[in-house]
Amino acid sequence: MQIRNSVLVTRNSTYMKQCYFTENHIKYIDHKDVDILKKFLNPHARMVSRKKTGVTAKSQRNLATAVKRARFMGLLPFVSR
């Protein structure tokens, strides 16, 4: 069950979910970095919500832009399966 955006509370433990980009000091999300972008896509090639990934709102906006650019260039699919 989720209490706040960045804090997950399970039955036995409470732990902080941290933003991948903040944690790794990534200021600019490149649309050519397909391997990183794929971490935030589900099997249908849709973006995973920040509720599940713990990505900050700012990074999620930048991520969305990068994913859209990668899709346009044929690096990522628009739909899959």
Binding site: Y20, N24, K32, I36, F72
Partner: protein, 159 residues
């Protein structure tokens, strides 16, 4: 007016030869220089499989392709120059698709150089625990009483 950093990602048609690729890259750089731009960094086109099929109409022929040569170039140019570059790219028949974006001068590609901090943590956690286990487990030390020792020695000695 101040210069802005731009990046052009492009896809070339897979039907072109290796010589044509180098010519196309050189032509693109010439276009940038002709608009008073300076190239910062680039990557030569490599053949990639596209995530979906694309079409490019050249004259009366329609090229449908599932692969393409993907390359990019980062450069600095004024706001007036970028429109000239865009016009030149529109007229290029071997470019399947291109994307012009505003970016930053620093290298933005990571390409697996970076390690996930969480992964590092997972890797280091067991070793730390092992060390702690070794350090923290109290080893019971038996006090040696000299009298007991003498007795045991006496028992062992055969008279």
């Amino acid at each position: 007016m101040e210069n802005q950093i731009y990046e052009i990602s492009y896809l070339l048609l897979p039907s072109i030869s290796a010589e044509q690729i180098s010519v196309a890259v050189a032509k693109l750089k010439d276009i940038i220089v002709s608009q008073n731009g300076t190239a910062i960094s680039d990557e030569n086109p490599v053949l990639i499989d596209l995530a979906y099929s694309m079409t490019k109409v050249v004259g009366t022929t329609r090229h449908k392709t599932d692969s393409g040569y993907f390359g990019w170039v980062k450069f600095e140019v004024g706001a007036e120059g970028i429109s000239g570059i865009k016009k030149a790219l529109d007229g290029n028949d071997i470019i399947l698709r291109y994307l012009i974006i505003k970016t930053v001068r620093e290298n933005t590609l990571l390409h697996g150089k970076m390690k996930l901090k969480s992964e590092e943590r997972v890797k280091t956690l067991p070793t730390v625990l092992e060390d702690e286990v070794i350090v923290d487990v109290p080893v019971p030390e038996k006090e040696i009483i000299m009298e007991d020792l003498d007795k045991s020695i006496d028992d062992l000695v055969i008279v």
